[in-house]
């Protein structure tokens, strides 16, 4: 049952819908599975859609039949006395409205909720080699690797073809962790820890979004999951676990000072320095990330600079104030410093 009872049986895949859905960039596509979980769900979808179209076709056929027969007899004939064809009507109603749906839905129920559900179920504690902790914040994701000191944000790395147990929590409101190509979604509830399995068939980068409405910037709460070859992953994790490197060059050193003595340290952590707040994302290895602010903007020096100066422009309402009042020199210096935090 495990990986893909339903796989390979997409004969029913509907041509029109399939055409519409194919080749669409495959960015965050529930029908472009990259794990056995997601693939089972996708097969389930195609099967259901196939049967659903048949059901719809039956109904449309009946309506068209009525249309064809409309001119049959003079109107008004059937309003009194016996009801013509009532018996046939009852047969169809009982067969189409009771018997067939019960059979079909029972089949669906058993397949989906007794079998497929097993593959998507959360793994038991300690059943996997690694657990990752994801904490939702308004409006970004904190990512921790228990057992190491690695902390990062919005970009999760996992080893490919290795089941990972993901624990999700929230620091404020309800969010929902969702990377459709890998698995179904799971909400983050206050006061509770929820779990889900993360597994990727192939090396690659998979996009996800916060799926539960969580306030102003719910639209900008993306997440990337990188499935790396195990060795690459191990190196990445080792690098992430290290504290930040000392700045090289006077500009970066000035940036470090500005960061630690200014407002930044009130919200951000850079391991290995005195900045240790958890309000905003951990910036120890911020330069290692490809994007800023939960996939809102690319992580390039100029975007980083602009983000610090005016974060509210990119993500209006986000919890980091714009720092337009800082001098251009300082922002440059801080940017230079952060750029070195590989």
């Amino acid at each position: 049952m495990r990986s893909g009872l339903l796989r390979g049986k997409r004969a029913l895949a509907l041509v029109p819908l399939a055409l519409l859905l194919a080749g669409c960039g495959q960015k965050q596509n529930a029908l472009a599975p990259a794990s056995h979980q997601s693939s089972d769900i996708a097969s389930l979808f195609w099967w259901m859609t196939g049967v659903a179209f048949l059901g719809l076709a039956v109904v449309v056929a009946l309506l068209l039949l009525a249309w064809r027969r409309a001119g049959r007899r003079g109107a008004g004939g059937d309003t009194q006395g016996p009801k013509p064809g009532e018996r046939v009507g009852w047969y169809v109603v009982v067969l189409g409205g009771v018997v067939v749906p019960i059979l079909l839905i029972s089949a669906l129920f058993v397949i989906a909720n007794l079998f497929v559900i097993k593959t998507t179920e959360a793994p038991a504690a300690n059943s996997t080699k690694r657990t990752i902790l994801v904490i939702g914040h308004q409006w970004w994701w904190e990512v921790r690797y228990p057992g190491t000191s690695a902390v990062t944000a919005n970009e999760i790395h996992i080893p490919v073809r290795t089941p990972i147990r993901l624990e999700v929590r929230t620091s404020d409101v309800i969010h929902s962790f969702w990377v459709p190509e890998l698995n179904r979604k799971i909400d983050t509830l206050p006061g509770t820890t929820n779990e889900i399995e993360l597994y990727a068939d192939a090396v690659g980068r998979y996009r996800g979004d916060c799926a539960e409405y969580c306030g102003l910037q719910h639209a900008h709460m993306g997440i990337w999951v990188y499935a790396d070859p195990p060795a690459t992953f191990a190196r990445w994790l080792a690098r992430q676990s290290r504290p930040a490197a000392a700045p090289s060059g006077s500009l970066a050193a000035a940036g470090r000072a500005a960061f630690l003595n200014g407002a930044c340290a009130a919200c951000h952590q850079i391991r290995g320095t005195s900045a240790s707040s958890g309000v905003g994302p951990d910036l120890t290895h911020v330069a290692d990330r490809k994007t800023l602010a939960a996939l809102t903007i690319p992580n390039t020096p100029s975007y980083l600079h602009d983000w610090i100066r005016d974060s509210q422009r990119f993500k209006p309402g986000n919890q980091m104030p714009s720092f337009g009042q800082l001098s251009e020199r300082r922002i440059r210096a801080i940017t230079a410093y952060l750029e070195q935090l590989k």
Partner: protein, 621 residues
């Protein structure tokens, strides 16, 4: 006859409308009010669609967008469909269909309208003040807590919803009693039109679904304003409590939205196929059953919250059962189309369209029975597609069809057929363009409630199509109303029964007189207007003065099940108290909003005093 005219005459002018207790006038008041609110909800929707027409658009700010979708959802559900179906259609038609002269409690009926109107004004005041609710129509905590929503937005939500549900509860209770007690003698339960079964089901649904919602909102209001901890896990509360109570209301609610539409469909189908509905008893039972089972499925809205698998499977099981009453009805309707002689006039076209849309949306609904699939698509546009197909296609289409169908009854004029059909096809094309791509874009990963989206995820084209569909729908709706307005002024007179309709409303003149029926009609089947001998007998009774009840403001009461005549009751007439009471109640809510709890208490005492006045004058004997 003249005596009846005198006894039932209502005061002319505005005062007459303010004090009216006539179910037809109240129905019309509901109709116009909800229509305006539909316009508001539609404008909000089109603003959203305009914002989403391209990626990274900035026509509206995120704050505004959040208020738009929340208000859109609230308006469409609480202030359009429910009051339009129950308030407008139900009020106008139920007494006419059961052969009564008014509702069982006419003043309470007026009260429910005025409370509804006040709650709508209350909610929209928040928009004018820029403080409209912004946490979504299901308003999850903790986002809706004081910590994360410090403004008054959510207080408006909680109070408006409670306020509005008072009106709906009154309407629901009213319908139940009216249907039980005020039917024409002879109309036993099994001879009741399916329309009334449907409204009975919806009313029971409202009666039992609204209290959990009120409880939930009372908790929310207290959490926000006096520091209780119902939803606060750090003090022993639970965020999921909100969701449970909300959806214990919320799921029955969606059937409450649809069941009256079933009722409208089952009125139109026999009239336009000239055949009694296939499998009548099954359909009647199904209408009641769908609401009943609907109370046991709520957690299918919470599949991704991490509840235990056992609980999920239980609720998925219940959800698969709730489907059966719907499939029964779909096939009964379709077979009636086939076995009768379908005249595809505008009303029937809307019903055919409704069946198509309902089946499409229902089939995606069934897909959610597959828990893993639901967990994959929940909170995406796939859900938006599911319920707009069902809500727009299956609840609004019959409303439109019903507007055409009963237009001759209410106005006494026919409507123009050609533009009617055009409006149908425009709306049909528009809604499918609008809502079908939402399935795809949802599968492509687009979450709901996002004020904008990135350009590189392949969502843009679908969103453009959706927006075009939205505007096409608007054009269709404008043609529809334009046609009706035009018909009102220009179309030929309709006469009492232009369709040879099956039910009692077609036996009286168009528009019906204030006393509805000159004589309490005789009923011996569920299709009384197709029983010519009974109508003949009515005429004889009228001539002989039997059951004319012209000695006062009188109406019969019957035994609830068999419809045996039980007594003749004197009904209250025009009254100023309903408006006044609604006004006092509004003051209570305003004071609660402003957190002047003591003054709110005083206002509540004012309400009690008003009630004293209301009951001051006893009916004469």
């Amino acid at each position: 006859m003249e005596r009846l005219e005198v006894m039932w005459q209502s005061r002319p002018g505005v005062l007459g409308w303010l004090m009216t207790t006539d179910h037809k006038r109240i129905g019309l008041l509901y109709f116009w009010t909800t229509l305006v609110l539909f316009g508001a909800g539609g404008v909000e929707a089109l603003l959203m669609r305009t914002q989403l027409v391209k990626p990274n658009n900035s026509i509206v700010s995120p704050e505004t967008y959040d208020q738009l979708f929340t208000l859109h959802g609230l308006t469409m559900i609480f202030f359009f469909i429910i009051p339009m179906t129950t308030g407008a259609f139900g009020n106008y038609l139920i007494p006419l269909m059961i052969g009564a002269r008014d509702m069982a409690f006419p003043r309470m009926n007026a009260l429910s309208y005025w409370i509804f109107l006040a709650s709508a004004i209350f909610l929209y005041t928040s928009l004018a003040l820029g403080m409209a609710p912004d946490a979504g129509w299901f308003d999850y905590v903790p986002l809706a807590n004081k910590t994360f929503s410090p403004g008054h937005n959510i207080d408006f939500y909680a109070l408006a919803v409670i306020f509005n549900s008072i009106a709906s509860t009154l309407t629901a209770g009213q319908f139940i009693v009216t249907i039980f007690k005020s039917r024409a003698p002879g109309m036993s339960f099994n001879r009741m039109p399916l329309f009334c079964f449907a409204f009975l089901a919806a009313s029971f649904g409202l009666l039992f679904a609204l209290p959990p919602l009120s409880a939930d909102n009372i908790f929310l209001f207290l959490d926000r304003n006096i520091g209780t901890h119902f939803f606060d896990p750090s003090h022993g509360g639970a965020a999921l409590l909100w969701q449970h109570l909300f959806w214990i209301f919320g799921h029955p609610e969606v059937y409450i939205l649809i069941v009256p539409a079933f009722g409208i469909a089952t009125s139109i189908i026999p009239a336009f196929t000239q055949r009694k509905l296939v499998a009548f008893p099954l359909v009647a039972i199904a209408e009641l059953l769908v609401v009943f089972i609907g109370f046991g499925v709520w957690a299918h809205h919470m599949f991704a919250t991490g509840m235990s698998t056992t609980a999920l499977i239980f609720f998925a099981g219940a959800t698969s059962m709730v489907v059966i009453p719907s499939t029964i009805q779909v096939f009964a309707w379709c077979m009636s189309f086939v076995l009768g002689v379908a005249r595809f006039k505008t009303p029937l076209l809307f019903i055919a369209g409704f069946i198509f849309m309902f089946v499409t949306g229902g089939l995606t609904g069934i897909m959610f029975v597959a828990i893993p699939f639901d967990q994959q698509v929940t909170d995406t546009y796939f859900i938006i597609a599911h319920f707009h197909y069902i809500i727009f296609g299956a609840a609004v289409f019959p409303i439109f069809g019903g507007m055409y169908y009963w237009f001759p009854k209410v106005t006494g004029k026919l409507y123009f057929e050609r533009p009617g059909q055009i409006s149908f096809w425009l709306i049909f094309a528009g809604t499918n363009l609008l809502f079908f791509p939402m399935h795809i874009v949802g599968l492509l990963g687009m979450p709901r409630r996002v004020y904008t989206y990135p350009s590189n995820l392949g969502w843009t084209t679908y969103n453009v199509i959706e927006t075009i569909g939205g505007y096409l729908t608007l054009v269709g709706i404008l043609v529809l109303f334009g046609n009706l307005v035009w018909s009102y002024f220009r179309a030929p007179a309709a006469g009492p029964d232009p369709w040879h309709g099956p039910t009692l409303e077609w036996t009286t003149s168009s528009p019906p007189p204030e006393y509805d029926f000159a004589v309490i009609p005789k009923v011996s089947s569920a299709y009384p207007n197709w029983d010519p001998e009974d109508r003949e007998e009515d005429r004889r009774k009228l001539a002989g003065g039997v059951l004319v009840l012209d000695q006062g403001h009188e109406q019969v009461e019957v035994t609830p099940v068999d419809g045996w005549l039980s007594r003749v009751a004197e009904m209250p007439h025009e009254s100023p108290w309903p408006v006044l009471l609604a006004l006092c109640l509004s003051l209570v809510f305003v004071m609660l909003l402003l957190q002047h709890f003591a003054i709110a208490g005083l206002m509540a005492i004012l309400c009690v005093l008003t009630l004293l006045g209301w009951h001051g004058k006893e009916p004469e004997e």
